[in-house]
Symmetry: C2
Subunit: 758 residues, 2 copies
């Protein structure tokens, strides 16, 4: 590939992006697409101001970019929560570091690479791209210290920026604890592996244990029930019914946020929905009756939520080893009410360690053997085999153009189709693992997808594909730097095109929500459903964070070897900054909040990328026979690792534990202002396992000071909940699958260049 | 080496052992040697009943064996504490598992190995020892399933035994918390990295912080002072002076145990010593004056001991993250008063992580490069070079016998001399690391010595010595099983002789205390010192635990490959059981208690040994072309690792944290019985940094409820302390160094066999 071809490719991609973004700026103005492009507004029941029809609605305008750009961080925090801000900080960090890297590499390294060897022609556009990489520098060149210096500058600025980002995010995280509206999860612990004792109910065991050992701070508890098969069937019936009533057009006025405290079963203060139709009430009643019969089939799980009077008491109870058997009375801080992954809570605690090992093994095997079936299917897709399988297309095979497309693109299509399996597979693994919260599951899936993509996009491409050579690399670790040093500059062109296709095109498809749009059309004109606020998806951090981090890794490793990648990456991150801000502000709804828990992943990946790029540089300097540059790179690796260790000591504990000082002060503040009583009252109704009213279970056990909600109250409000809590996972799935398709179609071109034997 | 030679060697070793043990049984009856053989009795001021001189005192008798054997575990626990019991449990575990392994391997595996190939001669005694190893089994032999089955039996019984030992030790550890006399360390935390604030003294900072956030449970605190150079000089003067007064013959009646609570400065109830001489009191006063002047040169450290009202409160405060900066207000449970490693407490907390990394790197480098200087010096010791260096011995060189000894033994002597450096070096590393307690330092040194000996005795011997081949092995990990499988059976003979020489001879030299005896003679007849109860050493777990574990590792790895090792090992462990029990009961004094903290090391090492032996077996089955046996070994490895993971979940947290339930119940018990007031009063005086009276510092800050000791009291009692607390490290060192010399002299023979080019 030469420079002109790269620039042409970039031009085409820019054209496609501009086209898609313009299209988006028109489509978003159409009221019919509000469900696609303004999901958050819908979920929060904010009305978008839609102008009456005018010509302006058909003209593309960049106003959405301005809006997305202008929104300040505080507004972002208020609207979308800390997780969104942390995600945006990843992009800000990337923009900053790759601006520095871009300036250093384009003006420092690129000319050296270009003039590294005497050239036959000076026709820049038709030079091979290899000329711009470090491969063009002569062996033993005296100018390699510039590369080394650039590496130093990039590494030090990355560390400095990381340090300040860490500080900032820690500050935001603490503010999140102190300033946010009171969070029931701060007062609650999840206790698992409650031992069964003869003659005592689990309920009583929990009550006795905590009122004995935590007498001063224990408030109440709530037993978790194992969900039997009958209940699961009933739940599905309920969902179908609820869908039905919704389509019938009941007016719903519930805010997304209100779910947090007013789950419906026991809350008192919620504005309950007034379903006016008599018949719907009747059918509700019927379903409730069947349901309450079925619920007697639930078993008590050996798990419970235990509520405490103060945040500090809850944190202490969650961190202390309770009894002499560490596998009994296991305590953790509870997730947020909407974050609870109920169906995992019944898993016996003693199974968890083996589940974790099993999923670890399974996902590692999946990661390594991913290419085996793909290669097999790709092997099948050779022309002669295809001709045998599909003989009726004989006529078509004769045309060269079609043959080229089929043999060229089919392998890539197969690879892409297999790639779509990855996020759902990883999510499945993470579910089996036994996370107690949706966010924990997503975080675990995020790590798995990250490892997967770093391995299968970076390393497998570098080590040129086959499973056997992958395994060879693992078995001879000392050759890794040299092998990487040989392979990475060679693959730099591919990585640049990967940024163009997977990065840029991915962003335009993300903002377009092509399949959301398509699904919306079907919903509106074929199925005649109305927009459902509960079906608004939450931001898929677990797929987007690995994407951004992977491109960051490509940037770090390629920047001094093939500096041309920097401008493309910079464009990607800036575009990503605008697009993701728009998506967070308008499209996705945040259902729960982890308080920036994903930052340690980002930090560790960035350090990994830095060290990897340093090791590759070490290998390159070795190959280029520049002992001085090699010698200077080793202290850099050590410094980076030391910096990482320092950050692990200085910052990471705050992501794992809440600081006592902050919690105690917040407790005092609430007690002084008299808010505490209200908070504690709301606590009882925060965690609802069975939203359709089942008050006869009486599962909130109070210690007498705060009364449980009465049956009437519960039934009254329970209807509200029916339209809130079941939806997300059921509707979200096709979106997240399909959304990525467009992004990858563009990638096909690139992959094809690689895989077809040209 | 043939069987006859081995048995001869064993016979000689048995003879030496019997001789030494008989000698010991006579020497121990002589009153003059009480300081050597009855150190604990001396330290505890128990009088041994020495019979008047009779002929019986000159006749060897096995009565000490009976006494050591008879002592029950409860008595052991009462006399020597939990750590000693745990150490004995390691031996019990080893005896049990190697009894099983011995039976299985001698009756199952050995005949198969012996009849593995058709033999020319049937003269068993003159068969090479190789005939008894697995090397003698034919390739593709059908009988390899017996080896595999033996491996299964050994692995499963080891796991089962480990499980029950774990359970037992956990039970003992909990009993140690509940039944033992109240331990001030349970009520105390060590807070480090107290931030300096302008206008506030550290003392006030600590007081304000804890009385603000731990108002209900905070009792008082005690600031730790940085020790200036002046103080260190004064301390040495004090020690010399104290030695002097002691030699003068002041009668001292202080028990070793009484130090625990009555450290002298502030305690009230101790029976203070009545030094009758006026002049000594006067000189005490002088020294105290100089000392109190010097103490003004101490700086306040950013560290303090904080005392709480209950055990539970202390544990909570030690586990919770205090502030939003994890590197400030760092809390840990305090070590026992005599366990505190004062000189490490002044180290700023922010240095610790880098110190840990530095010592890790240093000890790893030391471990890998250990053989480089040894080989170099050994190279120097070649005959011709020696002749150049020492030309005056020309006459001697001509005699063949002397030449043989010099060239044969010199390399081994050099190696042994270097080996003596290892424990002090590792202790040095562990001190630099910054442990806050002596026991922590010893535990860390124990791990380092263990890694060192496993690497340098097992792996280096297996991979035949040179540094380069060591590094080659690391760089090609997939060849390791095959290489091990080839090398271990070849080295089995060496390992058997290692058990004989290093194991058996080591034990006899341990019980003889040859250099203690020697030192005692010098003390009594040359220096004319009296026995000093404070100089009684504590049990050197950090050298003995790695020794026992290393022999266990040799046993596991060799048992199915070269079953002849089992009987020798079994004798070693049984002898060790008797010898170590005797040493613990009579010789060593236990100064502090970790509550069985060393068990996780034992557990992990045993699992490592098991997995290693399984991997070696896997390699051997591979070489012998027995795919069935190989296939059956893989699930065994997986099962062992799963078992380890289960134990890590089930047992190990109890070694790291105290269970809340146990502590709370113990608190209640003490409060109900009214003991708590007394315990809390004693708490103030438990931790004394400056034993010679420095009451003007007033470093115990009380919150008004319990009064600090008055100056007079303190001065009165401080004298007691002067003879208790400085000695251990100063006098103990030569013992621990020299004690091992005899053990290794015997090893020289074996090492020589290996190193000399025969």
């Amino acid at each position: 590939m030469n420079l002109a071809a790269l620039l042409t490719s970039a031009g085409i991609n820019i054209g496609i992006c501009v086209l898609l973004l313009s299209l988006f700026s028109i489509l978003r103005k159409q009221p019919g697409n509000a469900g696609v492009y303004f999901g958050r507004w819908l979920a929060e029941e904010r009305s978008q101001r839609m102008e009456p029809f005018s010509l302006e609605r058909l003209v593309p305008s960049p106003s959405w970019i301005a809006k997305a750009w202008e929104c300040s961080e505080d507004e972002m925090l208020a609207v979308a929560g800390l997780d969104a801000v942390v995600f945006i900080r990843i992009l800000v960090f990337s923009i900053r570091i790759f601006s520095i890297a871009g300036v250093v590499c384009i003006f420092g390294v690129l000319p050296l690479n270009y003039f590294g060897q005497e050239m036959q022609t000076f026709d820049i556009p038709f030079q091979s791209l290899e000329v711009f990489t470090i491969a063009n520098v002569k062996q033993g060149s005296k100018w390699l210290w510039v590369h080394c210096l650039s590496l130093y500058i990039i590494s030090f600025s990355a560390c400095a920026l990381l340090y300040f980002e860490c500080k900032k995010i820690i500050r935001l995280r603490l503010l999140h604890i102190t300033r946010s509206s009171p969070n029931p999860s701060h007062f609650t612990i999840l206790v698992r592996a409650v031992p069964e004792s003869t003659g005592e109910k689990l309920n009583d065991s929990v009550k006795n244990f905590f009122s004995e050992y935590y007498a001063s701070s224990y408030l109440s508890h709530q037993i978790i029930f194992g969900v039997g098969k009958v209940y699961k069937v009933m739940k599905k019936v309920g969902m179908a019914y609820q869908k039905l009533t919704y389509i019938k057009g009941a007016a719903v006025h519930n805010k997304c946020k209100s779910f947090r405290y007013r789950c419906g079963l026991c809350g008192r203060t919620s504005n309950s929905i007034q379903l006016s139709q008599n018949e719907t009430e009747l059918s509700h009643k019927k379903i409730d009756d069947v349901h309450s019969n079925s619920i007697t089939s639930h078993k008590e799980c050996a798990a419970a939520f235990v509520f405490f009077r103060t945040r500090y008491a809850a944190v202490v109870a969650s961190q202390v080893l309770q009894t002499s058997n560490p596998m009994m009375w296991v305590t953790d801080l509870a997730p947020e009410p909407h974050d609870v992954y109920w169906s995992n809570l019944w898993i016996p605690y003693r199974q968890l360690w083996i589940r974790k090992i099993a999923t670890l093994v399974a996902s590692t095997v999946f990661m390594f053997l991913f290419l085996v079936p793909v290669t097999f299917v790709q092997g099948l897709s050779q022309l002669d085999q295809l001709q045998q399988i599909l003989p009726f297309l004989k006529g078509a095979w004769r045309k060269k153009f079609i043959t080229q497309i089929v043999t060229g693109y089919l392998p890539s299509v197969v690879l892409q189709l297999f790639l779509y399996m990855v996020p759902p597979m990883m999510m499945l693994f993470s579910s089996v693992e036994g996370s107690i919260s949706h966010s924990g599951r997503e975080k675990s899936a995020c790590c798995k997808i990250l490892y997967f993509s770093v391995w299968n996009v970076f390393f497998v491409n570098v080590f040129s594909g086959s499973v056997i050579s992958q395994l060879n690399v693992i078995s001879s670790p000392k050759d890794i730097p040299t092998q990487l040093a040989k392979a990475v500059p060679r693959q730099a062109t591919f990585f640049i095109t990967y940024v163009l296709t997977s990065g840029w095109a991915g962003l335009s498809s993300e903002v377009m929500q092509l399949f959301g749009l398509f699904w919306n059309l079907i919903k509106r004109y074929v199925l005649r459903w109305k927009n459902d606020p509960a079906s608004v998806p939450s931001f898929p951090y677990y797929t987007e964070v690995p994407k951004v981090l992977l491109l960051g890794l490509l940037g770090f490793t390629c920047s001094i070897l093939a500096p041309l990648i920097c401008p493309f990456l910079l464009v990607y991150f800036i575009l990503g900054y605008v697009v993701y801000r728009n998506q967070i502000l308008n499209v996705y709804c945040s259902k729960y909040e982890t308080g920036g828990q994903m930052w340690p992943i980002v930090h560790n990946t960035t350090i990994f990328s830095l060290v990897l790029s340093q090791i590759i540089a070490l290998g390159v300097f070795g190959i280029k026979k520049s002992p001085v540059a090699s010698a200077f790179t080793i202290p850099l690796v050590i410094c980076t690792l030391l910096f990482n260790e320092y950050c692990r000591q200085r910052f990471h504990p705050v992501f794992k534990k809440f600081p006592a000082q902050v919690l105690i002060e917040k407790d005092w503040e609430d007690e002084e202002s008299g808010k505490m009583v209200e908070i504690l009252q709301q606590l009882h109704s925060a965690y609802c396992q069975f939203p359709p009213g089942t008050p006869e279970l009486g599962y909130v056990v109070s210690d007498g000071q705060s009364s449980a909600a009465t049956e009437n109250d519960a039934k009254n409000i329970s209807k509200e909940n029916k339209i809130g809590s079941f939806q997300p996972t059921s509707i979200r799935f096709p979106f997240s699958m399909l959304k990525r398709a467009l992004a990858s179609l563009a990638l096909l071109v690139t992959m094809n260049d690689k895989t077809s034997p040209s």
